[in-house]
Protein backbone atom coordinates (compact mmCIF):
# COMPACT_ATOMS: atom_id res chain seq x y z
CA UNK A 1 0.00 0.00 0.00
CA UNK A 2 2.81 2.42 0.80
CA UNK A 3 4.52 2.25 -2.56
CA UNK A 4 5.90 5.02 -4.72
CA UNK A 5 7.04 5.53 -8.28
CA UNK A 6 10.31 6.43 -9.97
CA UNK A 7 10.02 7.43 -13.62
CA UNK A 8 12.67 8.66 -16.01
CA UNK A 9 11.02 12.08 -16.03
CA UNK A 10 12.55 15.43 -15.23
CA UNK A 11 14.73 15.10 -12.14
CA UNK A 12 13.20 12.03 -10.51
CA UNK A 13 16.16 9.83 -11.45
CA UNK A 14 19.00 12.20 -12.40
CA UNK A 15 19.78 14.66 -9.55
CA UNK A 16 16.89 12.98 -7.69
CA UNK A 17 17.64 9.45 -6.51
CA UNK A 18 20.87 9.36 -8.57
CA UNK A 19 23.61 11.99 -8.60
CA UNK A 20 27.17 10.73 -8.65
CA UNK A 21 29.47 13.35 -7.23
CA UNK A 22 26.87 14.55 -4.74
CA UNK A 23 28.31 14.91 -1.25
CA UNK A 24 26.07 12.10 0.05
CA UNK A 25 26.32 9.79 -2.99
CA UNK A 26 27.24 6.15 -2.39
CA UNK A 27 29.76 4.26 -4.50
CA UNK A 28 27.01 3.50 -7.02
CA UNK A 29 26.16 7.18 -7.47
CA UNK A 30 22.86 7.17 -5.58
CA UNK A 31 22.23 10.03 -3.19
CA UNK A 32 22.37 9.02 0.46
CA UNK A 33 20.24 11.94 1.65
CA UNK A 34 17.42 10.90 -0.69
CA UNK A 35 17.72 7.25 0.34
CA UNK A 36 17.51 8.35 3.97
CA UNK A 37 14.37 10.38 3.37
CA UNK A 38 12.87 7.53 1.37
CA UNK A 39 13.38 5.28 4.38
CA UNK A 40 11.81 7.86 6.68
CA UNK A 41 8.91 8.19 4.23
CA UNK A 42 8.29 4.49 4.78
CA UNK A 43 8.12 3.52 1.12
CA UNK A 44 8.02 -0.25 0.65
CA UNK A 45 7.66 -0.67 -3.11
CA UNK A 46 8.73 1.34 -6.17
CA UNK A 47 7.26 1.21 -9.65
CA UNK A 48 9.76 1.78 -12.51
CA UNK A 49 10.70 3.06 -15.14
CA UNK A 50 7.41 4.75 -16.13
CA UNK A 51 4.85 6.10 -16.71
CA UNK A 52 4.57 7.46 -20.20
CA UNK A 53 8.33 7.03 -20.52
CA UNK A 54 8.09 3.25 -20.59
CA UNK A 55 6.03 3.25 -23.78
CA UNK A 56 9.10 4.18 -25.85
CA UNK A 57 11.83 2.76 -23.63
CA UNK A 58 14.27 0.23 -25.07
CA UNK A 59 15.47 -1.49 -21.92
CA UNK A 60 18.43 -3.17 -23.69
CA UNK A 61 19.92 0.30 -24.24
CA UNK A 62 20.06 0.78 -20.47
CA UNK A 63 22.08 -2.34 -19.57
CA UNK A 64 25.68 -3.38 -20.08
CA UNK A 65 28.83 -1.30 -19.65
CA UNK A 66 27.77 2.32 -19.05
CA UNK A 67 30.45 3.67 -21.38
CA UNK A 68 28.89 1.73 -24.27
CA UNK A 69 25.36 2.99 -23.67
CA UNK A 70 23.92 5.59 -26.02
CA UNK A 71 21.46 8.35 -25.14
CA UNK A 72 18.03 8.34 -26.75
CA UNK A 73 15.34 10.97 -27.16
CA UNK A 74 12.40 10.07 -24.96
CA UNK A 75 9.37 11.30 -26.87
CA UNK A 76 7.00 11.06 -23.91
CA UNK A 77 8.69 13.84 -21.94
CA UNK A 78 10.78 15.17 -24.85
CA UNK A 79 13.99 14.70 -22.94
CA UNK A 80 17.30 13.11 -23.88
CA UNK A 81 17.67 10.03 -21.68
CA UNK A 82 21.38 9.32 -21.07
CA UNK A 83 20.78 5.62 -20.22
CA UNK A 84 23.17 5.84 -17.30
CA UNK A 85 20.64 4.41 -14.86
CA UNK A 86 18.90 1.33 -16.20
CA UNK A 87 17.36 -1.92 -15.06
CA UNK A 88 20.40 -3.28 -13.19
CA UNK A 89 21.15 -0.01 -11.42
CA UNK A 90 17.54 0.35 -10.33
CA UNK A 91 17.03 -3.24 -9.20
CA UNK A 92 20.29 -3.28 -7.27
CA UNK A 93 19.36 0.03 -5.64
CA UNK A 94 16.07 -1.56 -4.55
CA UNK A 95 17.95 -4.51 -3.08
CA UNK A 96 20.32 -2.30 -1.14
CA UNK A 97 17.48 -0.16 0.18
CA UNK A 98 15.08 -3.02 0.91
CA UNK A 99 12.49 -1.83 -1.62
CA UNK A 100 10.27 -4.13 -3.66
CA UNK A 101 10.53 -3.27 -7.37
CA UNK A 102 7.51 -3.20 -9.64
CA UNK A 103 8.60 -3.22 -13.27
CA UNK A 104 6.65 -1.89 -16.22
CA UNK A 105 7.14 -3.17 -19.76
CA UNK A 106 6.89 -1.21 -23.00
CA UNK A 107 3.70 -2.14 -24.87
CA UNK A 108 3.71 1.13 -26.80
CA UNK A 109 6.50 0.87 -29.36
CA UNK A 110 7.20 -2.77 -28.49
CA UNK A 111 5.39 -5.97 -27.65
CA UNK A 112 5.25 -9.29 -25.88
CA UNK A 113 8.61 -10.53 -27.22
CA UNK A 114 10.57 -7.66 -25.70
CA UNK A 115 8.59 -7.87 -22.48
CA UNK A 116 9.36 -11.56 -22.13
CA UNK A 117 13.02 -10.84 -22.89
CA UNK A 118 13.14 -8.29 -20.07
CA UNK A 119 11.43 -10.70 -17.71
CA UNK A 120 13.95 -13.37 -18.61
CA UNK A 121 16.78 -10.86 -18.17
CA UNK A 122 15.52 -10.08 -14.66
CA UNK A 123 14.29 -13.43 -13.42
CA UNK A 124 15.77 -16.13 -15.66
CA UNK A 125 18.25 -18.78 -14.60
CA UNK A 126 21.54 -19.13 -16.49
CA UNK A 127 21.35 -20.86 -19.84
CA UNK A 128 19.13 -18.60 -21.92
CA UNK A 129 20.17 -15.66 -24.05
CA UNK A 130 18.70 -12.92 -21.87
CA UNK A 131 19.57 -14.41 -18.50
CA UNK A 132 23.10 -14.93 -19.74
CA UNK A 133 23.23 -11.29 -20.80
CA UNK A 134 22.45 -10.31 -17.21
CA UNK A 135 25.18 -12.61 -15.97
CA UNK A 136 27.61 -11.15 -18.51
CA UNK A 137 26.67 -7.73 -17.14
CA UNK A 138 27.90 -8.84 -13.75
CA UNK A 139 24.78 -10.09 -12.06
CA UNK A 140 24.66 -13.84 -11.46
CA UNK A 141 21.56 -14.17 -9.26
CA UNK A 142 18.13 -13.59 -10.82
CA UNK A 143 16.40 -10.57 -9.32
CA UNK A 144 13.09 -12.35 -8.80
CA UNK A 145 10.92 -9.36 -9.67
CA UNK A 146 7.39 -10.37 -8.77
CA UNK A 147 5.22 -7.47 -9.98
CA UNK A 148 4.92 -6.54 -13.66
CA UNK A 149 2.85 -3.76 -15.22
CA UNK A 150 1.65 -4.53 -18.74
CA UNK A 151 2.31 -1.15 -20.31
CA UNK A 152 1.15 2.20 -19.01
CA UNK A 153 -2.08 4.14 -19.61
CA UNK A 154 -2.65 2.37 -22.91
CA UNK A 155 -6.14 3.92 -23.12
CA UNK A 156 -4.71 7.45 -23.31
CA UNK A 157 -4.47 9.09 -26.75
CA UNK A 158 -1.27 10.77 -25.50
CA UNK A 159 0.34 7.41 -24.88
CA UNK A 160 2.99 6.38 -27.40
CA UNK A 161 1.52 3.33 -29.09
CA UNK A 162 -1.96 4.01 -27.67
CA UNK A 163 -4.32 1.09 -28.24
CA UNK A 164 -8.02 0.50 -28.02
CA UNK A 165 -9.20 -2.00 -25.44
CA UNK A 166 -9.56 -4.83 -27.96
CA UNK A 167 -6.06 -4.41 -29.39
CA UNK A 168 -4.64 -4.18 -25.89
CA UNK A 169 -6.58 -7.18 -24.56
CA UNK A 170 -5.61 -9.30 -27.56
CA UNK A 171 -1.93 -8.52 -26.98
CA UNK A 172 -1.99 -11.08 -24.19
CA UNK A 173 -0.02 -13.55 -26.27
CA UNK A 174 -0.99 -17.18 -26.44
CA UNK A 175 -3.83 -18.97 -24.78
CA UNK A 176 -6.54 -16.47 -25.54
CA UNK A 177 -9.92 -17.80 -24.56
CA UNK A 178 -11.79 -18.02 -27.85
CA UNK A 179 -15.20 -16.46 -27.75
CA UNK A 180 -14.84 -14.54 -24.55
CA UNK A 181 -11.80 -12.85 -25.98
CA UNK A 182 -13.12 -12.40 -29.48
CA UNK A 183 -16.57 -11.25 -28.57
CA UNK A 184 -16.57 -9.53 -25.22
CA UNK A 185 -20.10 -8.92 -24.03
CA UNK A 186 -20.82 -5.41 -22.91
Amino acid sequence: MFGSFVEHLGRCVYTGVYEPGHATADEHGFRGDVAELTKELGVTLVRYPGGNFVSNYVWEDGVGPVEDRKPFLDLAWRTVEPNVVGTDEFLQYCEREGLEPMMAVNLGTRGVAEAVALLEYCNGEAGTKWADMRIANGREEPYGVKLWCLGNEMDGPWQIGHKDAHEYGKARGRGRQGDEGDRPQH
Binding site: M1, S4, V6, G10, C12, G16, R31, D155, Q185, H186
Partner: protein, 304 residues
Protein backbone atom coordinates in the same frame (compact mmCIF):
# COMPACT_ATOMS: atom_id res chain seq x y z
CA UNK B 1 5.16 -13.83 -19.46
CA UNK B 2 3.65 -16.25 -16.97
CA UNK B 3 4.89 -19.08 -19.15
CA UNK B 4 8.41 -17.71 -18.58
CA UNK B 5 7.96 -17.19 -14.85
CA UNK B 6 4.73 -18.48 -13.29
CA UNK B 7 5.52 -16.84 -9.95
CA UNK B 8 4.96 -13.29 -11.21
CA UNK B 9 1.86 -11.14 -10.81
CA UNK B 10 0.58 -9.12 -13.75
CA UNK B 11 -1.06 -5.71 -13.74
CA UNK B 12 -3.30 -4.86 -16.70
CA UNK B 13 -3.75 -1.20 -17.55
CA UNK B 14 -7.03 0.20 -16.36
CA UNK B 15 -8.23 3.65 -17.35
CA UNK B 16 -5.83 6.57 -17.03
CA UNK B 17 -8.46 8.37 -14.99
CA UNK B 18 -12.16 8.16 -14.23
CA UNK B 19 -12.68 11.04 -16.68
CA UNK B 20 -11.64 9.02 -19.73
CA UNK B 21 -14.48 8.60 -22.25
CA UNK B 22 -13.81 4.88 -22.35
CA UNK B 23 -13.81 4.46 -18.54
CA UNK B 24 -15.66 1.33 -17.45
CA UNK B 25 -15.94 -0.10 -20.96
CA UNK B 26 -12.14 -0.18 -21.10
CA UNK B 27 -11.87 -2.17 -17.87
CA UNK B 28 -14.56 -4.64 -18.88
CA UNK B 29 -13.19 -5.15 -22.39
CA UNK B 30 -9.58 -5.59 -21.28
CA UNK B 31 -10.56 -7.99 -18.50
CA UNK B 32 -12.83 -9.95 -20.83
CA UNK B 33 -9.66 -10.92 -22.69
CA UNK B 34 -7.30 -11.25 -19.76
CA UNK B 35 -9.28 -12.18 -16.64
CA UNK B 36 -7.60 -15.57 -16.32
CA UNK B 37 -4.01 -14.31 -16.54
CA UNK B 38 -3.89 -10.93 -14.82
CA UNK B 39 -3.93 -10.40 -11.08
CA UNK B 40 -4.48 -6.66 -10.81
CA UNK B 41 -5.91 -3.80 -12.82
CA UNK B 42 -4.30 -0.39 -12.57
CA UNK B 43 -5.86 2.87 -11.46
CA UNK B 44 -4.36 6.36 -11.75
CA UNK B 45 -5.82 9.50 -10.18
CA UNK B 46 -4.60 13.01 -9.48
CA UNK B 47 -6.48 15.72 -7.65
CA UNK B 48 -6.01 19.48 -7.44
CA UNK B 49 -7.78 22.56 -6.16
CA UNK B 50 -9.32 24.32 -9.15
CA UNK B 51 -10.79 27.84 -9.18
CA UNK B 52 -10.49 28.15 -5.43
CA UNK B 53 -13.02 25.35 -4.88
CA UNK B 54 -11.62 24.25 -1.55
CA UNK B 55 -14.59 22.11 -0.53
CA UNK B 56 -14.43 19.97 -3.68
CA UNK B 57 -10.70 19.59 -3.29
CA UNK B 58 -11.09 18.50 0.34
CA UNK B 59 -13.67 15.99 -0.92
CA UNK B 60 -11.18 14.36 -3.32
CA UNK B 61 -11.05 11.23 -1.18
CA UNK B 62 -14.72 10.64 -1.94
CA UNK B 63 -14.05 10.97 -5.67
CA UNK B 64 -11.26 8.44 -5.28
CA UNK B 65 -13.57 6.13 -3.35
CA UNK B 66 -16.22 6.23 -6.08
CA UNK B 67 -13.51 5.52 -8.66
CA UNK B 68 -12.33 2.45 -6.70
CA UNK B 69 -15.87 1.16 -6.28
CA UNK B 70 -16.61 1.59 -9.99
CA UNK B 71 -13.47 -0.27 -11.04
CA UNK B 72 -14.25 -3.05 -8.57
CA UNK B 73 -17.78 -3.25 -9.97
CA UNK B 74 -16.43 -3.38 -13.54
CA UNK B 75 -13.95 -6.14 -12.70
CA UNK B 76 -16.51 -8.12 -10.74
CA UNK B 77 -19.00 -7.85 -13.60
CA UNK B 78 -16.56 -9.75 -15.83
CA UNK B 79 -15.85 -12.20 -13.01
CA UNK B 80 -19.59 -12.83 -12.68
CA UNK B 81 -20.01 -13.26 -16.42
CA UNK B 82 -17.21 -15.82 -16.40
CA UNK B 83 -18.64 -17.48 -13.26
CA UNK B 84 -15.20 -17.05 -11.78
CA UNK B 85 -14.36 -17.08 -8.09
CA UNK B 86 -11.14 -15.25 -8.83
CA UNK B 87 -11.08 -11.63 -7.68
CA UNK B 88 -9.05 -9.06 -9.58
CA UNK B 89 -7.45 -6.57 -7.21
CA UNK B 90 -6.39 -3.01 -7.83
CA UNK B 91 -2.94 -1.63 -8.36
CA UNK B 92 -3.47 2.06 -7.63
CA UNK B 93 -0.05 2.68 -9.08
CA UNK B 94 -0.28 6.45 -9.56
CA UNK B 95 -2.07 8.71 -7.11
CA UNK B 96 -1.34 12.12 -5.65
CA UNK B 97 -2.21 15.77 -5.63
CA UNK B 98 -1.01 17.17 -8.95
CA UNK B 99 -1.81 20.64 -10.29
CA UNK B 100 -2.00 19.11 -13.73
CA UNK B 101 -4.67 21.37 -15.16
CA UNK B 102 -3.72 24.61 -13.45
CA UNK B 103 0.09 24.50 -13.52
CA UNK B 104 1.26 21.97 -16.12
CA UNK B 105 1.14 23.09 -19.74
CA UNK B 106 1.01 19.56 -21.16
CA UNK B 107 3.85 17.36 -22.31
CA UNK B 108 3.25 18.15 -25.98
CA UNK B 109 4.28 21.75 -25.26
CA UNK B 110 7.59 20.83 -23.65
CA UNK B 111 10.70 21.80 -25.60
CA UNK B 112 13.26 19.10 -26.31
CA UNK B 113 15.56 19.14 -23.29
CA UNK B 114 18.57 17.32 -21.88
CA UNK B 115 20.48 17.09 -18.60
CA UNK B 116 17.61 16.34 -16.22
CA UNK B 117 15.31 19.32 -16.79
CA UNK B 118 12.87 20.58 -14.19
CA UNK B 119 9.47 19.20 -15.24
CA UNK B 120 6.32 19.07 -13.06
CA UNK B 121 8.08 20.02 -9.85
CA UNK B 122 4.90 20.91 -7.97
CA UNK B 123 5.27 22.58 -4.60
CA UNK B 124 2.66 21.76 -1.98
CA UNK B 125 0.62 23.46 0.72
CA UNK B 126 -0.70 22.34 4.09
CA UNK B 127 -4.08 21.89 2.43
CA UNK B 128 -2.49 19.49 -0.07
CA UNK B 129 -1.05 17.49 2.85
CA UNK B 130 -4.51 17.06 4.39
CA UNK B 131 -5.89 15.83 1.06
CA UNK B 132 -2.99 13.35 0.69
CA UNK B 133 -3.79 12.07 4.19
CA UNK B 134 -7.44 11.69 3.25
CA UNK B 135 -6.56 9.82 0.04
CA UNK B 136 -4.63 7.38 2.23
CA UNK B 137 -7.80 6.96 4.31
CA UNK B 138 -9.65 6.00 1.12
CA UNK B 139 -6.99 3.49 0.12
CA UNK B 140 -6.93 1.90 3.59
CA UNK B 141 -10.73 1.71 3.67
CA UNK B 142 -10.54 -0.33 0.47
CA UNK B 143 -7.52 -2.44 1.36
CA UNK B 144 -9.63 -5.54 0.72
CA UNK B 145 -9.46 -4.75 -3.00
CA UNK B 146 -6.61 -2.26 -3.35
CA UNK B 147 -3.55 -4.51 -3.22
CA UNK B 148 -0.94 -1.97 -4.31
CA UNK B 149 -0.69 1.79 -3.96
CA UNK B 150 2.01 4.06 -5.41
CA UNK B 151 2.34 7.70 -4.52
CA UNK B 152 3.51 9.30 -7.75
CA UNK B 153 6.31 10.13 -7.74
CA UNK B 154 9.14 9.73 -5.24
CA UNK B 155 11.56 12.60 -5.86
CA UNK B 156 11.18 16.07 -7.45
CA UNK B 157 8.36 15.19 -9.86
CA UNK B 158 5.09 15.79 -7.94
CA UNK B 159 6.98 14.29 -5.05
CA UNK B 160 7.16 14.30 -1.26
CA UNK B 161 10.96 14.64 -1.49
CA UNK B 162 12.70 17.54 -3.24
CA UNK B 163 16.36 18.00 -4.06
CA UNK B 164 18.74 20.64 -5.28
CA UNK B 165 21.46 19.39 -7.61
CA UNK B 166 24.70 19.36 -5.60
CA UNK B 167 22.63 20.56 -2.67
CA UNK B 168 20.06 19.64 -0.06
CA UNK B 169 17.15 17.20 -0.01
CA UNK B 170 14.01 18.16 1.90
CA UNK B 171 10.48 17.14 2.77
CA UNK B 172 7.44 18.71 1.17
CA UNK B 173 4.22 19.08 3.20
CA UNK B 174 2.81 15.90 1.65
CA UNK B 175 5.72 13.91 3.04
CA UNK B 176 4.25 14.03 6.53
CA UNK B 177 0.88 12.26 6.19
CA UNK B 178 2.44 9.53 4.07
CA UNK B 179 5.35 8.94 6.45
CA UNK B 180 3.05 8.98 9.48
CA UNK B 181 0.59 6.52 7.96
CA UNK B 182 3.33 4.23 6.64
CA UNK B 183 4.86 4.09 10.11
CA UNK B 184 1.61 3.48 12.02
CA UNK B 185 -0.49 1.36 9.65
CA UNK B 186 0.47 -2.22 10.35
CA UNK B 187 -1.29 -5.56 10.17
CA UNK B 188 -4.82 -5.49 8.86
CA UNK B 189 -7.23 -2.77 7.84
CA UNK B 190 -10.45 -2.74 9.85
CA UNK B 191 -13.92 -1.96 8.56
CA UNK B 192 -14.77 1.36 10.16
CA UNK B 193 -18.34 2.59 10.05
CA UNK B 194 -18.57 6.37 10.06
CA UNK B 195 -21.77 8.26 10.92
CA UNK B 196 -21.29 11.84 9.87
CA UNK B 197 -23.02 14.82 8.36
CA UNK B 198 -22.11 15.82 4.84
CA UNK B 199 -20.63 18.81 3.09
CA UNK B 200 -22.05 20.03 -0.22
CA UNK B 201 -19.44 20.29 -2.96
CA UNK B 202 -19.70 21.58 -6.51
CA UNK B 203 -17.77 18.69 -8.04
CA UNK B 204 -18.74 15.63 -6.01
CA UNK B 205 -22.15 16.50 -4.56
CA UNK B 206 -22.48 15.72 -0.85
CA UNK B 207 -19.38 14.23 0.73
CA UNK B 208 -18.87 13.00 4.30
CA UNK B 209 -17.49 15.68 6.64
CA UNK B 210 -15.49 13.05 8.53
CA UNK B 211 -13.70 10.05 7.07
CA UNK B 212 -11.80 7.36 8.95
CA UNK B 213 -9.75 4.23 8.51
CA UNK B 214 -8.10 1.97 11.07
CA UNK B 215 -5.54 -0.78 11.17
CA UNK B 216 -4.62 -3.27 13.85
CA UNK B 217 -1.62 -5.52 14.07
CA UNK B 218 -2.92 -8.94 15.16
CA UNK B 219 0.45 -9.88 16.66
CA UNK B 220 1.10 -6.81 18.78
CA UNK B 221 -2.37 -5.28 19.15
CA UNK B 222 -1.02 -1.98 17.83
CA UNK B 223 -3.93 0.14 16.72
CA UNK B 224 -3.82 3.05 14.29
CA UNK B 225 -6.72 5.30 13.47
CA UNK B 226 -6.65 7.87 10.67
CA UNK B 227 -9.35 10.52 10.68
CA UNK B 228 -9.94 13.44 8.33
CA UNK B 229 -12.01 16.45 9.26
CA UNK B 230 -12.97 18.08 5.97
CA UNK B 231 -15.03 20.81 7.63
CA UNK B 232 -13.69 24.20 8.65
CA UNK B 233 -14.85 23.71 12.26
CA UNK B 234 -13.25 21.76 15.07
CA UNK B 235 -15.14 18.46 15.38
CA UNK B 236 -15.67 15.94 18.14
CA UNK B 237 -15.89 12.30 17.13
CA UNK B 238 -16.93 9.43 19.34
CA UNK B 239 -15.22 6.15 18.65
CA UNK B 240 -17.42 3.25 19.79
CA UNK B 241 -15.78 -0.10 20.35
CA UNK B 242 -18.27 -2.10 22.43
CA UNK B 243 -16.93 -5.36 23.78
CA UNK B 244 -13.37 -4.58 22.71
CA UNK B 245 -10.76 -3.04 24.95
CA UNK B 246 -8.99 -0.27 23.10
CA UNK B 247 -7.06 2.82 23.96
CA UNK B 248 -5.53 5.76 22.16
CA UNK B 249 -2.11 6.85 23.38
CA UNK B 250 -1.68 9.95 21.27
CA UNK B 251 -1.66 11.28 17.77
CA UNK B 252 -0.19 13.52 15.14
CA UNK B 253 -2.11 15.92 12.95
CA UNK B 254 -1.44 17.69 9.69
CA UNK B 255 -3.36 20.91 9.29
CA UNK B 256 -4.54 22.77 6.22
CA UNK B 257 -3.35 26.32 5.70
CA UNK B 258 -4.22 29.23 3.46
CA UNK B 259 -0.69 29.94 2.34
CA UNK B 260 -0.71 28.27 -1.04
CA UNK B 261 2.20 26.26 -2.38
CA UNK B 262 5.34 26.45 -0.28
CA UNK B 263 7.81 27.34 -2.98
CA UNK B 264 11.09 27.38 -1.10
CA UNK B 265 12.89 24.75 0.92
CA UNK B 266 12.73 27.01 3.96
CA UNK B 267 8.97 27.51 3.69
CA UNK B 268 8.36 23.79 3.10
CA UNK B 269 10.50 22.83 6.08
CA UNK B 270 8.60 25.27 8.29
CA UNK B 271 5.60 22.97 7.89
CA UNK B 272 5.43 20.16 10.40
CA UNK B 273 2.80 17.89 11.94
CA UNK B 274 1.47 18.94 15.34
CA UNK B 275 0.27 16.95 18.33
CA UNK B 276 -3.32 15.78 18.07
CA UNK B 277 -5.88 17.38 20.37
CA UNK B 278 -6.30 15.41 23.62
CA UNK B 279 -8.59 12.37 23.61
CA UNK B 280 -11.02 11.29 26.32
CA UNK B 281 -11.19 7.61 27.22
CA UNK B 282 -14.60 6.29 28.30
CA UNK B 283 -16.27 2.90 28.80
CA UNK B 284 -16.26 1.34 25.36
CA UNK B 285 -15.92 4.75 23.80
CA UNK B 286 -13.14 7.18 23.05
CA UNK B 287 -13.82 10.82 22.28
CA UNK B 288 -11.54 12.41 19.72
CA UNK B 289 -11.23 16.07 18.87
CA UNK B 290 -10.22 17.06 15.39
CA UNK B 291 -8.83 20.41 14.28
CA UNK B 292 -10.57 22.15 11.36
CA UNK B 293 -9.48 20.88 7.93
CA UNK B 294 -7.10 18.35 9.37
CA UNK B 295 -5.91 14.80 9.02
CA UNK B 296 -5.00 13.07 12.28
CA UNK B 297 -3.23 9.79 12.89
CA UNK B 298 -3.93 8.31 16.33
CA UNK B 299 -1.98 5.42 17.74
CA UNK B 300 -2.91 3.07 20.54
CA UNK B 301 -3.67 -0.54 21.25
CA UNK B 302 -6.50 -3.00 21.05
CA UNK B 303 -7.04 -6.27 22.87
CA UNK B 304 -7.94 -8.91 20.35
Amino acid sequence: MKATDPSIELVACGSSSMQMDTFGLWERTVLSYTYDIVDHISMHAYYEELDGDRASFLGSGTAMERFVERVVASADAIGAQKRSDKRITISFDEWNVWYQQSRFGGEQNLPIQRDAPRIIEDRYSGLDAVVVGDLIVTLLRHADRVAIGCLAQLVNVIAPIMTDPEGAAWRQTTFHPFATAARLATGEALQVKVDTDTIATAKHGDVPAITAAATVDPDTGALALFVTNRSDQERTVTLRHPGVTARIDGGTAVLADHEGARETQEHAEAYAPVDALPVEQGEGTITLRLAPESWTAFHGAMEL
